[in-house]
């Protein structure tokens, strides 16, 4: 589904954040990218989204070299992604409006217009029907992220990218949304990449976990998560071992 080939990227004038970086993500997989803040996680996600382009190397998604944001890729950021002047319902419809604005041109919208579920379906599925007429400034953090997720899923993405989507939420809301996101992933089977600095979240959300650390990131350190999809007992030996392993790798890379 996604393939990074010798990707090199640096912000203008800076030292490279990624240097000859290779990565492959299989169709329908779920990946957690784990790393401390400032390690280039967001940059990696922006690269996958086509919002920034590598100086050299290729990012290939679904057989196509990425040269601009892809209409089938969804992106959810930590915060501030919603239009403050639009209601929840209007925000959820935004992607469809943008597609309607260009028509099915294959660049801004898929060349073949696919039938999509009505925005109302996603408002309901994400549990935000009651706040449909409120503005983002009137919502709790959890409701804002539900709106952001609904806005993305309306467009039926085959690749969903999330950048620390639950970091600013309280623990209860965070757990709810983590579970909901996994459930949606199981239903829709999109390829899923979540970026996080929290080891617990990486264990919960990623079939595979990539650890990003020192710059430039060249070789990736990753492991297949043995505890993914299980009801994890955080006091169990297996959990402690995995947690310690990730923590030591975070320190090492």
């Amino acid at each position: 589904m996604v393939k990074l080939e010798k990707v090199t990227f640096s912000y203008s004038g800076g030292k490279p954040i990624f240097d000859q970086f290779d990565w492959e993500i299989g169709d329908g997989q779920s990946w957690a990218v784990l790393g401390p803040s400032g390690c280039g996680k967001t940059t990696l996600l922006y690269l996958l989204a086509g919002l920034i382009l590598p100086q050299s190397g290729n990012i290939i998604i679904d057989g196509q070299v990425l040269t601009r944001p892809r209409p089938q890729t969804g992106l959810v950021l930590q915060d501030y992604g919603l239009l403050p002047w639009a209601t929840v319902a209007q925000n959820v419809k935004l992607g469809l409006q943008v597609r309607g604005f260009y028509g099915p041109d294959g660049k801004h919208a898929p060349a073949v217009a696919t039938p999509t579920q009505a925005p109302d379906f996603w408002l309901h599925r994400l549990g935000i029907t009651e706040v449909a007429d409120k503005y983002p400034g009137q919502l709790s953090g959890g409701q804002r992220q539900r709106t952001a997720i609904a806005r993305t899923l309306v467009l039926q993405p085959d690749l969903l990218l999330m950048d620390e989507p639950f970091s600013s939420l309280d623990p209860v809301t965070r757990k709810d949304l983590q579970e909901l996101t996994l459930q949606l992933w199981r239903e829709a089977r999109f390829t899923f990449v979540l970026v996080t600095h929290a080891i617990e979240e990486a264990i919960m959300m990623g079939q595979s976990i990539m650890i990003l650390g020192s710059q430039p990131a060249r070789q990736m350190s990753f492991l297949v998560n043995p505890l993914f999809g299980e009801l994890v007992d955080r006091d169990s030996l297996a959990y402690r071992q995995l947690f310690d392993e990730l923590q030591s790798r975070l320190g090492a890379v």
Binding site: L51, T73, D79, Y80, L82, P84, W85, V98, G137, T152
Partner: protein, 233 residues
């Protein structure tokens, strides 16, 4: 008789004079002439300054090129150009509208530019990820984002616009509150009528303030919604 006219008449005398003057039919025309000039210049200013501000605000490169010129022209007190504008544009309404426009244009331009430039990158990137290119970003992000800035700029401009209106109407016109106030205050020495004109001028300003507030309620409902329950963040 004329010398007995008090320079500071009591409010009741002013209101009575205002009533008489309004009844004579000339004063409403002065009021409408002023209202038209100030509204036309506000409209033209928004139509030209807002798009220019949007373009500069979302292009750091263009902004680097143009902002020295803006900062160079902005501080010039535009009323000094009144004789020049009159010379080139003649004695009609156009000259007066242009003088007010010259002042409002820069105020709106700078506010809209700064608003567009201060949009969060997360917002821009999110909307780009939904497929929006430059045109859709303008339509769905920059334009609505600049509405509050345009209205704020208009609100700040009302006082200036009315003040400049007075100066612009001193020259080469028979209509307008500025002309009326000057005529009664300096030529006819009819002070009650002059104060009546001043009252109408402040009413004109008040109408404009309420108009801008109304536009804001209508066009920017999220601002009020945020005030009511703005505590959650």
């Amino acid at each position: 008789m004329l010398l007995n006219q008090p320079v500071l008449p009591s409010p009741s005398i002013v209101v009575a004079a205002l009533y008489v003057e309004l009844g004579r039919g000339e004063l409403p025309l002065h009021f409408l002439a002023s209202l038209w000039r100030v509204m036309a210049s506000m409209m033209v200013s928004v139509l030209l300054a807002a798009p220019a501000g949007l373009v500069l605000g979302q292009s750091p490169r263009l902004n680097r090129i143009f902002s020295p010129f803006i900062y160079w022209l902005y501080p010039i007190p535009k009323v000094v150009l009144v004789p020049v504008v009159l010379l080139f544009l003649g004695i009609g309404d156009l000259a007066k509208i242009v003088i007010i426009f010259l002042i409002l244009f820069f105020q709106i331009l700078v506010l809209v530019r700064d608003q567009a430039a201060s949009l969060r990158p997360e917002l821009i990137q999110s909307v780009r990820s939904l497929g929006a290119g430059r045109r859709a970003l303008f339509r769905f992000v920059y334009l609505p984002a600049s509405l509050p800035a345009i209205l704020t700029a208009l609100r700040q401009s009302v006082g200036t616009a009315v003040a400049v209106l007075y100066i612009a109407e001193l020259f080469a016109t028979q209509y307008g509150l500025g002309y009326y106030i000057f005529l009664n205050g300096s030529t006819l020495l009819n002070y009650p009528a002059m104060y009546g004109g001043i009252i109408l001028m402040s009413l004109l300003g008040m109408m404009l303030y309420f108009g801008v507030d109304g536009l804001e309620r209508w066009l920017c409902p999220w601002l009020r919604a945020g005030q009511v329950e703005g505590s959650q963040h």
